[in-house]
Point group: D2
Chain length 354, copies 4
Amino acid sequence: MVDRIKAAVLGATGLVGQRFVSLLASHPWFELVALTASSERAGKRYGDTVQWLLETPMPSNVAEITVAATSPDSVEEAEVVFVALPKEAAMEIELELARRGKIVVSNASNYRLEPDIPLLNPEANWNHIGLVEEQRKKRGWRGAILKVPNCSTAVLTLSLKPVLDKFGIRDVHVTTMQAISGAGLRGVPGYVIVDNIVPFIKNEEEKIINESRKILGKLENNTVKPLEVNIYATTTRVPVLDGHLESVHLVLGREPGGPKEVIEAFESWGPRPQELGLPTAPEKPVIVRREPDRPQPRLDRLNGRGMSVTVGRIRLSGRVLQYLVLGHNTIRGAAGTGVLIAELYYKIKINGLI
Amino acid sequence: MVDRIKAAVLGATGLVGQRFVSLLASHPWFELVALTASSERAGKRYGDTVQWLLETPMPSNVAEITVAATSPDSVEEAEVVFVALPKEAAMEIELELARRGKIVVSNASNYRLEPDIPLLNPEANWNHIGLVEEQRKKRGWRGAILKVPNCSTAVLTLSLKPVLDKFGIRDVHVTTMQAISGAGLRGVPGYVIVDNIVPFIKNEEEKIINESRKILGKLENNTVKPLEVNIYATTTRVPVLDGHLESVHLVLGREPGGPKEVIEAFESWGPRPQELGLPTAPEKPVIVRREPDRPQPRLDRLNGRGMSVTVGRIRLSGRVLQYLVLGHNTIRGAAGTGVLIAELYYKIKINGLI
Amino acid sequence: MVDRIKAAVLGATGLVGQRFVSLLASHPWFELVALTASSERAGKRYGDTVQWLLETPMPSNVAEITVAATSPDSVEEAEVVFVALPKEAAMEIELELARRGKIVVSNASNYRLEPDIPLLNPEANWNHIGLVEEQRKKRGWRGAILKVPNCSTAVLTLSLKPVLDKFGIRDVHVTTMQAISGAGLRGVPGYVIVDNIVPFIKNEEEKIINESRKILGKLENNTVKPLEVNIYATTTRVPVLDGHLESVHLVLGREPGGPKEVIEAFESWGPRPQELGLPTAPEKPVIVRREPDRPQPRLDRLNGRGMSVTVGRIRLSGRVLQYLVLGHNTIRGAAGTGVLIAELYYKIKINGLI
Amino acid sequence: MVDRIKAAVLGATGLVGQRFVSLLASHPWFELVALTASSERAGKRYGDTVQWLLETPMPSNVAEITVAATSPDSVEEAEVVFVALPKEAAMEIELELARRGKIVVSNASNYRLEPDIPLLNPEANWNHIGLVEEQRKKRGWRGAILKVPNCSTAVLTLSLKPVLDKFGIRDVHVTTMQAISGAGLRGVPGYVIVDNIVPFIKNEEEKIINESRKILGKLENNTVKPLEVNIYATTTRVPVLDGHLESVHLVLGREPGGPKEVIEAFESWGPRPQELGLPTAPEKPVIVRREPDRPQPRLDRLNGRGMSVTVGRIRLSGRVLQYLVLGHNTIRGAAGTGVLIAELYYKIKINGLI
């Protein structure tokens, strides 16, 4: 792949935008050609206008990029456009970009439940990318809109998929403990979260319920039939910088032989993105820790360079399975999965499947 | 009650010990006459040897008390002895004190499941204090051992009791987010908990399961028949100073008419300790907050001077009831409930019931 | 004082506004008659629109007050107006209110260095209130503008004043560790401050330097001659909710006999507001702690109901004096000092001095 | 260097021990052959007994090493021994190891001020390693004891050295804001440090004063003449995981032409370890950040892989120079400097200088 695919990031100065930039700065397939932000930042060097807050230094090659104001014209040069805008800002521009033939990989929450728009957590439902054909036919555009799931949902469904395939799932009860970065740079004031927990995140529980059912659903006749499963979710915000931890209680379809069979289901799982050797696909999508006190956000969030989820405290009682799962919310739960989706798209395309 | 009842605290320098001291320093019925600690502190002024860490200043009258080494002799003068020792240190001395005729109100986790020892969360099971008679008969002592429940269990069962009475409960799933103080002053290193969550607390889940069933059980024929209910618990430690938050998912015995009926059950609950006017009983044992983002540990832990639990985010779907409950773990979950138990004992005794 | 003085708070929903409300809700001299906020909150119950974040519950009597949009007309009924607005919003309205005869006690940073406007930290410079006469003459209004100092400055100068009076001060070097609440509710994002320190607060060091020199200056011929002293300040933001801690290094004018003489200077200080018995004046403006590890923000910020500063780690080497001082930034450093200024004004007025 | 030098770590399970292990696991010159800990861990796999808490996963090759009980015999195989023991445990064993001919590179605080024992912050005083000759002559051993400075001192003196060389220094006033890890894994309880600062660290200020004077002193006639300079230090503990931030106020010997000349002094500094190409020497020992709000612990502690210190907020007023300096306390302030010292020793030895 000698010529790299030209890529842009819309909303490149927020926390998810910074993760996109960080992952794309030295990507083997993609080349960053445009970064956009709100108009007051336009014309400035990225390195001067961004408040870089990641734990690793800003890649030196992106510091020099001149930021453009977010608009379809400003990413004309790019073939694939990664969207890290708020929902309201994303709605119109995504449609316009697809009409102009761009591959739009978006972390914004709009359109995630549209029947012809794939909502992709690649290891769990890589084949839903087939909706692109339907989308193009129906909408009459050459481009495509591909959606990244909600952060908690991405982490959760990655752990649910191998269990679902092996044992079936009837009920899902989940309580999340979500990191501050999930709300964006200014979303959670310090005075609200130090020595505290906020047991509410707007619309988050609905997203977990609806998006999980779509992601785990079956693609049949050019549409996704959502998984029939009861999902109950309670979401909270905790004083952790990065890494969503989720306490999961499942009622399975059939009783596993024992916890070892469950561990085996997680560890032996080798889904398609791994088979395809996608650069951002982690070696193991689900890592199982056997210590009694893992996963922990600070210690496990960067497992698999932030793309693996880590499962621990597996407890089985009949058909009731309990565990905790942790994933990096702005990598696995946002930008990293976005990049993985783009990799999947181009790999499939090269193989002539789309 | 002109002459106050002489009281001692065993293990007065730990975090629960400090709460006992704080609550008893100006109690209308009890008078602190002895504070004990490990032998290296013996002979020192309490004010000099304790590392006082509560958010309110140390009561000036207790600073002058000379600390004694923990032993049955050192609390000879007291009639009621509050125990804030670790389990191993508590086992022998509690028996000896009861043999010497003391009323032992203990926060230590030993003996909580002994059939003849009442495990009391007074609003939920005040009548279990009747076990004292059986205990005295069986053990041949004049004193009594009365147990304070585990902190998470105290908070949980206070919210479960009115629901149980009104609708019945089949299943309880609970995920806790527990404060640092629950592990004692040195239990959770700063390096482990800042920007992190530890999803494991040793023996905590077993305590929640077994103690809840006993507390919510029925006293019949001088023994408590545990409640038959499935309880699944996952316990975590979060970077919060005080206040355990619990995400609760219940399957009820019968379907309430609507969320209002559930709120009504919580708010109309006026159990015995409140009727008896016990000084430490909060006006409302369960406070319901209607805002979408409550309860929060920092904002709600001191409700009812730390003795109320606060319930919020009530969601009902058929027979499935979800809510969050928060309580102050070293007040409602430890020292405060200990003092309330002692008040209950003496009130009942005065009324000639024991 | 049978009829209480009618009072209003401008900007009542921010963190300083909440402190004003909290202090005034049951004040013996003042009666809250109006609370204002931005226009989108106008017409709502205060209890419904404010995001109350103080560690104590909202006073029930203020919850029912209907919030007005900030304007001179909306506080017509009040005689004294407490201002908790940002500087830009405060500039015009303060002038207009003074023209309308209101006593304006303002925490906003504008006008603090105006020659005819008193900048008051009452224990340190109560007599500067005499500038009001000059102000009225010069500006031709019946009202008055009285300014609360910058938060760090209020804490610092309260500790400097008794030292200055006794030993003289040549140089002041101060490094501050300032709490999150100092930047207001949304001023410091959680993602920026957890596990971090930000070593910069805009304009803060200039405020400390200039305001301290004015507060510690002499009132002569209707003007304040700033203290001639070298002040070097470095200000930082730390992950603490409330309470500014300051590391102070002084070169004194003369060498004290020993640390005891310094402690004596702090502890024997009994300035005018205390003599006058003002309700909000703490018993001791400066509390000295002798333990090696105090003051600490969480343990000492509420000393003297938040109005005392706490000094510790006093070290003397020749004419070099080092210590740490801590004060509650939104009480002593803002709303509490504002209320104390108003008390001073009315007490002096009753005595016929203004 | 085909055969790597065999190395051991004493006290390998603490936080500094973990950093040593992390740095040595894939070091080009050294090979880990022994890890020791207290006797109850002896015989266990390192991976099983250590509570690994670094932000990066444990190197897989060290997990398999069997931990030995700390004793001179247990590191017989090693040529160089890195010591991460507490002072009391280190005193005897360091002497014995040197007698046995080992090169002892120690982070323990004992012996740091002994005249014949070099206290090395290599960029600042690499030539003090010459004391080894005197040490061997005087003590009659073939080995050597080389000391790592106190963590705050290492960070401070790295920033002082280029300033001293260029402008001279008369007075140093420093206020530190030190990370939790500086006190070891269990040194700072979570309940003490969340939402708080502790303004005292035992013996720390004396260490900063005495060690800085030795490090910055001149080696003459086989002894170090301490720098004559007034140092005033105030040390505090803050809720930050890693990274000591220090507010520095200097009175210089001569007035620089301007801040640019100071920046130039920092940035042009290319001391001996960098010239020698030592593997652990960072490209720039001092990094200057020009943004108004840097350095910040979370964002700058890993600069230069934790071996650079970062300076910011440089302010010059006549001969008074103020700045903030940040360094990683367990890398630059402990294990990293230890490894750098060992590299320096072997490089010098190979060159025939020792």
